[in-house]
């Protein structure tokens, strides 16, 4: 240990705190200015903490299951009645769906339509949430080792949960559809109007860029539109729930605060989002390339 005089030691102790405060402020500014700077640090920290979080999340999951089962035991009779009625309705739908599927296949054959790419799923457990930090995201225990990649959709049986933004080796971060920075291209199923689902950290994200005068009603289903080719189209997102001063709001199908497991949808073709490029200092070559318009001479 370096031997410091008492004055030195006192001086260091007095200045450490202000220096660190300033350093934190600088990091905040830096982190906002350059988004990529801490990404690799974040993914490596997440990867290293993943085993701990995984171990802690398991008992919590079981507790959640037990509570859910207890709730179910209390409402068994009503649940039973409700489920029987729903079952009858669903069996009818099943018949309709089967005949529609057959029709669909025939018509596609007639049109020689391009087949949809197959979906495969990776199941992942939720190991952490955002802890109320003014962001809406979750950590899942699937990483590049489990063949998930950035930009893929995370869903549950009910609907869309979010999009993978950072993928480490063993864990990934999913930006929920309710987050401030989340923008998902969607379609209103009934009218085929294209819009963007924008989160604002509230429970109900908004619909942006709807064509004016479009007859969208409360209760309309909202699904992903698959634009950009990264998200599978037709994933259920939610229902239009209300119109307020800001615009239309969507109530998500998924109960986002009670996620135990998610499925990461692999839309095949390895068409995941590339990492964002850091800004390059590019010499201005615009003027020169004007004459070169690629015309064949």
């Amino acid at each position: 240990m370096i031997r410091l005089s008492p004055q030195m030691r006192g001086a260091i102790q007095r200045t450490t705190l202000p220096i660190l405060v300033l350093l934190s402020g600088a990091i905040i500014v830096l982190g906002k200015a350059d988004q990529l700077l801490f990404d690799s640090l974040r993914t490596s920290v997440t990867d290293s903490v993943e085993p701990v979080l995984d171990a802690l999340a398991r008992p919590l999951n079981s507790v959640g299951n037990v509570v859910g089962r207890a709730k179910l035991a209390v409402t068994t009779y009503q649940e039973n009645v409700r489920l029987q009625a729903e079952n009858e309705k669903l069996l009818q739908w099943q018949q309709t769906a089967l005949s529609l599927a057959a029709d669909n296949k025939e018509l596609r054959g007639l049109l020689k339509a391009v087949p949809d790419t197959a979906l495969s799923y990776v199941t992942a457990r939720v190991i952490a949430n955002s802890g109320g930090a003014f962001v809406r995201m979750i950590l899942i225990d699937a990483g590049s080792e489990d063949h998930v990649s950035r930009g893929q959709a995370a869903i549950t049986g009910e609907g869309l949960v979010g999009r993978l933004t950072e993928v480490g080796n063993r864990a990934s971060r999913v930006l929920l559809i309710t987050d401030l920075n989340s923008r998902i291209p969607v379609t209103i199923e009934s009218t085929h109007a294209a819009a963007v689902l924008a989160g604002d950290n509230s429970e109900r994200p908004r619909l942006l860029y709807l064509p004016a005068g479009d007859a969208v009603k409360v209760g309309d289903r909202v699904v992903t539109s698959g634009e950009g080719g990264v998200f599978p189209p037709g994933l259920p997102v939610g229902v239009v729930s209300a119109t307020d001063a800001v615009g239309l709001r969507v109530e998500p199908y998924v109960e986002l605060s009670q996620l135990g497991y998610v499925l990461v949808a692999d839309y095949g073709l390895a068409r995941s989002l590339p990492q964002p490029l850091p800004p390059l200092a590019r010499p201005s070559r615009r003027a020169k390339s004007d004459g070169d318009d690629g015309a064949i001479r």
Partner: protein
């Protein structure tokens, strides 16, 4: 309650290795706990700020064992885990130390109700500051109600945290 009248004129030196690490370990544990996915409806948005409770407690009773560097590191770790902008929690914890250290002597020998009141003020200021900071960082007006409820939950959870920390302190460090 665990923290009755403690007379600590000068902080006795703690030689036990585990005891020296207790404040840092518990604050780090608080950071991990705050990101645990409890499947309670609405919990994720309203998680109490456990690291604030730990930082407050240790800065009052053992500021020598939770130095600024440790707070900085734990704050950054919490930012990395929770996905919040880097540096926000570090700044919060460091400013907590700045705020509490100056008034430490008013809290050390007082009963729990007094300590709790002090924490209420700190939590209110902290959530207001956090909300303002996030509004500036995201350049949009965020929901203030959320911040208020979160502050209330943090204050409500403080007695439990304080009790457990005090218990741990007494067990591991003795009467120090």
């Amino acid at each position: 309650m665990a923290l009755k009248v403690f007379s600590i004129p000068a902080l006795p030196r703690v030689n036990n290795g585990a005891a020296r690490l207790l404040p840092v370990a518990t604050t780090l544990l608080a950071a991990v706990i705050s990101v645990l996915p409890l499947q309670i409806p609405g919990y994720a948005a309203l998680t109490p700020v456990f690291t604030l409770m730990a930082a407050y407690h240790w800065t009052i009773y053992r500021p020598d064992l939770l130095p600024p560097v440790a707070l900085f590191g734990i704050g950054l770790a919490e930012d990395l885990l929770a996905g919040s902008p880097m540096g926000v929690n570090a700044l919060l914890l460091l400013l907590t130390r700045v705020a509490v250290l100056g008034y430490r002597r008013y809290f050390v020998n007082r009963n729990f109700a007094f300590v709790w009141t002090g924490f209420t003020l700190l939590a209110a200021a902290a959530m207001l500051g956090l909300w303002g900071l996030h509004c500036v960082i995201d350049l949009s007006l965020l929901d203030f109600r959320n911040a208020v409820i979160r502050a209330a939950l943090t204050v409500a959870m403080f007695p439990l945290a304080s009790f457990m920390l005090g218990r741990a302190q007494r067990t591991v460090m003795g009467a120090g």
